[in-house]
Amino acid sequence: MRILIVEDDPVLSEGLSVGLGLQGFTADPVGTLADARAALADCAFEGMVLDVMLPDGSGLDLLAELRRAGSALPVLVLTARDQLRDRVQGLDGGADDYLGKPFDLEELAARLRAILRRAEGRPTALLRWNGLDLDPARMTGRLDGRDLAFSRREFAVLHALMERPGQILSKSALEERLYGWQEEVESNAVEVHVHHLRAKLGRAFIETVRGLGYRVAAEG
């Protein structure tokens, strides 16, 4: 789950990207509205954590811009002005959720997962496919009565595939989900993670579509 973080405070911004990384997200931090616009134009993000007071303007303006352009990107607004009026303004301005500073990392992660899930139209936190229950909050799965643990990257690949069952994701699309900007993309990484996943889930769970990419196999 690749998330754009728009926050100008370097300590908080760094904390958000590391902390959300620990929670199974891939987070890219930017410090200004201009950088955020450039990042949104360049990469596909699944969600955004947006601060309100930024050096070059209000985060709510960026949000309004996005919504005017028809974007449905799930956005969680962070603000220090934790007053009812501001919350209402933020939510009416198109924010999917709202968190007042300071906040708890786990709560932020849970809220982010909730708005991402809602954006996909899924009511439950668990992803279910072919007998596998995947729990994004714990980065664990359960298959045929067996509990499974995944590494952060394995989980990211599996989660991406199970979000849209049957849909083919290319290797580069998966890489984009796996790595933030600062991270070096290792060649073959996707193949290695898929290999490990197949060892845990059985060979047939993930299909290779030659020349196109990967998908989870049809139910049955």
Partner: protein, 442 residues
């Protein structure tokens, strides 16, 4: 005293005064007129009696027995005129009905005189008839004359007694009506919520009240601006304090959760940086408040000593960043219009900014040119658009992110303003860093 009562009293007193002087004036003129007319009547009556005596139309009784003089009292003026005829030797020869027996006047000369007979005051006209050897005296009672004048005066005073309370009532109501716009203004001021700062309701406003209303609206506008500035400051302060708190909490949670020792160390270092920064922010916010309300007591400061104090205070920060000071300030004391604390705060913040802006190994220069203190760093300098807004509170340059609080120049600016001087930020020359100047008055 209320404006209404004041106006009411003025108007009622003025009306009463006008009316009273009218009464006094009319009484005096009436009295003069009555005197003139009745005196003429007296003279005429005396001469008539005298000529009747000469014509023998009235026979004088022998031996001084009174005769009736045909001066018939008019039904309206009973006993008003009395007539006496005296012989020149002093015997009463005749008198009219009701006339007193004793002489009406003791005056020997003919003409007008006044006298008192039997407790009554008389106005008398005397004619001397030499041919007959008699003196004719005709008089009328002054009490009657006074009565006439009093009638006229009462004719004015009675309506006054009735009309004045009525008029007072009318004045009271009219003054109230006239002051109604003022009452409305007071009412709308009273009904105002303390947080409301919009203009007063417009509509029918008399020309006299319009300046007051305009002045009030101006005051409200200034109040709204001040309140907005305060609200902005509070909102900014909340943001500026809560953001590092959020960062601290986030890093603390990372340190707790991280399996990797390197990640944990990094988080702990971030916490330390953040605590230092937050400490500086809180100190500067308090300093800004202190500068805002520093006591305006003039004082004296020795620039050299001030500079040494500041450099000593900032030594740990400068050391950590590998920055050194080049301080050349005068030993001669400078007289200040306000508290020396203000100059200290201004200079300290400029030097701290310069330390933060300078690269490692850089030199911060502090020197003096008369009443101007100058601070120069070796940083990139402020771009013009930023320089124009540099004294705004919480405004940080893009390069300073994570270091300054955005309050340093705001503090210096307010402090210099309170000292009657100015903070000047000249355009930075490429490669020379940014200079800041504190201009003191005089």
């Amino acid at each position: 005293m209320s404006l209404r009562l004041r106006l009411f009293l003025i108007l009622v007193l003025a009306t009463g005064l006008v009316w009273t002087s009218a009464v006094v004036w009319i009484e005096r003129s009436t009295r003069a007129e009555v005197q003139r007319v009745l005196d003429a009547r007296l003279a005429e009556a005396a001469r008539m009696v005298s000529s009747l005596l000469s014509d023998r139309r009235i026979a004088m009784a022998e031996g001084g027995a009174p005769v009736a003089v045909p001066l018939q009292p008019h039904p309206d003026y009973q006993h008003q005129l009395s007539c006496q005829i005296w012989s020149l030797q002093g015997t009463l020869v005749g008198r009219s009905e009701g006339a007193p027996d004793s002489e009406l006047t003791g005056a020997a000369e003919p003409g007008y005189s006044e006298s008192s007979v039997g407790g009554e005051r008389w106005r008398v006209f005397t004619v001397q008839n030499e041919a007959l050897g008699v003196r004719v005296m005709v008089g009328d009672s002054l009490t009657v004359r006074e009565g006439l004048v009093a009638d006229v005066r009462d004719g004015l005073l009675v309506p006054l007694a009735v009309v004045l309370p009525l008029l007072a009532g009318l004045i009271w109501v009219s003054v109230g009506q006239g002051l109604a716009p003022l009452d409305r203004l007071a009412g709308s001021l009273r009904a105002r919520d303390p947080s409301e700062t919009g203009p007063l309701p417009q509509g029918e406003v008399p020309a006299e009240i319009r300046p007051v209303q305009r002045a009030l609206d101006g005051l409200f506008a200034r109040l709204a601006k001040a309140r907005e500035a305060e609200r902005d400051f509070t909102a900014f302060a909340a943001h500026e304090l809560k953001t590092p708190l959020a960062g601290l909490r986030m890093q603390a949670q990372i340190a707790r959760m991280a399996q990797d020792g390197a990640v944990r160390d990094r988080a702990l270092r971030a916490i330390e940086t953040s605590v230092d920064r937050t400490d500086r922010l809180v100190r500067q916010m308090l300093e800004l408040a202190a500068v805002d309300r520093a006591a305006p007591t003039p004082g004296e400061v020795v620039p050299h000593r001030l500079g040494e104090e500041i450099c000593a205070g900032l030594a740990p920060l400068a050391e950590a960043r590998g920055v050194t000071f080049d301080m050349r300030l005068d030993h001669a004391p400078l007289a200040l219009r306000s508290s020396p604390f203000l100059l200290q705060a201004a200079l300290r913040n400029l030097v701290e900014n310069a330390v933060l802006a300078s690269p490692g190994g850089g030199v911060v220069r502090v020197w003096q040119r008369g009443a101007v203190l100058l601070v120069q760093d070796e940083g990139p300098g402020m771009p013009a658009p930023l320089r124009a807004r540099a004294t705004e509170r919480f405004l940080r340059g893009p390069g300073a992110a994570g270091q300054g609080s955005g309050l340093g120049l705001a503090i210096a600016d307010v402090a210099m303003e309170r000292l009657g001087g100015a903070l000047v930020l000249p355009a930075a020359l490429p490669g020379h860093g940014q200079r800041a100047e504190l201009h003191l008055p005089g």
